[in-house]
Symmetry: C2
Subunit: 332 residues, 2 copies
């Protein structure tokens, strides 16, 4: 097989993206130069932050280019190329997803152990999403044992980890919100003390019922009404780790904003935005602790897998609509 | 003189308070019991946070009671009473302002040195407002030398200290906003690198012109549009110390809220509300450093003084309207 298929950004979405914003392009399998590897991707990740990169605005990562392949986390097998420390057959994690074969600079690849966990786990529970949950909860929000935690988007890849890590680290109460009865059911099965569907009524009222004594930590994946409700529910010296605001990534108008920020003063609250890339110093500790929890069966993770590079846009759009349980992945 | 006069809260304001919400009441000068002091107040403080206490809502301090004297910071002279460590003639700082004579529990009084500074300074530059500026800037926002700072309400008691302390501690650029041309002029005289009148155009545009390279630290006294503009102007890893939101204390509708909170993520910003009461551990360091700056003539402070207990409501209302330069005080 000498044909490679990849997904290009055909046009920049206005508001919600559609299939028309993407294009499937056939190219040739690349030829490696010195220090380069050709990786046959097995899984690629679709993540909320990618929506921001489809806009042509300055941000913490440059925007995706038009008429060029998208990129993002992927894991696959080295099939060609020579570089110190790598050999054909190695399974590597790298940043050039959205294509079947990737030409990867060896410095941008990291070998992973396929015997320790299924390779897809390196894009989910043992990968960026797991570390995002771990670092946001324990470092950014500095959750301590005995504290109460609320996480929005709790059935997603990050949120489901946040809730479980909170319980394993001694949270007194963990509350999650999600977008369907099935997801709420799943949160209860994962050990959340309370969960609710945000379609069922104002978040503020549902959160008050689920955490009548308030919360110390809020892990925000959603923004907007969820953030306002969490600020209202937070106890003195509460901390919010702001990880995502998926409610507004596709907004064409300025989104609803919390009108109760004056509560930050009297309650001495902290809102802190973060990116996982700033917390790489926790990676070793995270992998060790998470691998132990996995080995002992103390943590569960969900993956929603879509097959085929041609369906990657569909997977991405479904993730934005919340159709995934746990981590949304594309198997190639 | 055996008559005491004090100001009672006659009714709870809806929106902006008026003179009708206050009542001047004549009582008798109190008689001290064991451990109590009678203090003839010389100066009393009027502060923005008092507006919140006029509402009947749960907050970090209990609401003022109706038909009872208001309270707040005051400094005066002990005229009667016996308590260890106090003698008639001592000048003390305490929490029972809004009256000419206060019956103070000695445990709630702190002796101050009238030779070190004018006694009013213990309510302003050397007192709670000075410490608020110091703690918010250096502890909450953790300003480092070389950073750029924006402070709103910069001609007020706290704001004018924030800007000057920032310069003295090595800020690369200090920008202030205020509400009149005279205040802007004063900020320039105090050493602010740039200052603007927020009536002159959108805060966002004026801030961009005043700090084209952005700011690392925002000290918020105002909230609303100022906070949104500051979030937009903040650099990576910027910190905002949220001290007050005077723009909305008298609002009867939910206030404008920053619609750009998603920037917290990509820029890894922190918004942190605080109350000076949590930062008492800095008091000694603060007094030492501030007294040195005062002695060396390196810091200036403004006081706007209104005479007579009967004019205390007028002073309070004027402060809410921003008629003061620096600290608003009532001389009794």
């Amino acid at each position: 097989m000498t044909t490679n298929r990849e997904i290009h950004l055909a046009s920049r979405p206005q508001g919600w993206p559609t299939a028309d914003n993407f294009r499937l392009v056939e190219t040739e399998v690349p030829t490696p130069g010195p220090g380069q590897l050709v990786v046959r991707n097995r899984f690629m990740s679709v993540d909320p932050y990618m929506r921001g990169r489809m806009n042509d605005v300055k941000s913490y990562v440059p925007p995706f280019a038009l008429d060029a392949p998208l990129d993002g986390g992927a894991v696959g097998e080295v099939v060609a190329g020579e570089a110190d420390g790598f050999a054909p057959g190695d399974v590597v994690l790298h940043g050039l997803g959205w294509r079947e074969y990737a030409l990867v600079d060896a410095r941008g690849a990291r070998k992973v152990d396929p015997d320790l966990a299924p390779v897809s786990a390196y894009l989910s529970v043992l990968g960026m999403t797991g570390l995002t949950a771990y670092a946001g909860l324990l470092d950014v929000a500095a959750m301590k044992p005995g504290e109460a935690v609320f996480v929005s988007g709790a059935a997603g890849a990050v949120g489901s980890m946040v809730g479980q890590i909170a319980k394993l680290r001694g949270a007194s109460r963990v509350v999650g919100s999600a977008g369907s009865p099935a997801k709420v059911e799943r949160l209860r099965a994962l050990g959340f003390d309370a969960a609710f569907d945000y379609h069922d009524g104002p978040v503020r009222d549902q959160l008050r019922a689920a955490a009548p004594d308030g919360v110390d930590v809020y892990f925000d994946n959603v923004g907007g009404e969820h953030l306002e409700a969490a600020i209202g529910a937070m106890k003195l010296h509460g901390r919010a780790a702001i990880c995502g605001m998926i409610a507004q990534y596709n907004a064409t108008e300025p989104p609803a904003a919390p009108r109760n920020l004056a509560l930050l003063i009297g309650k001495r609250l902290t809102l802190r935005g973060f990116l996982v890339g700033d917390h790489g110093h926790l990676r070793e500790q995270f992998v060790q602790e998470m691998a132990g929890w996995l080995r002992d069966g103390r943590i569960s993770y969900d993956e929603t897998v879509v097959d085929g590079i041609e369906r990657a846009p569909e997977a991405f759009l479904g993730m934005l609509r919340g159709e995934n349980l746990g981590k949304m992945l594309v198997r190639l």
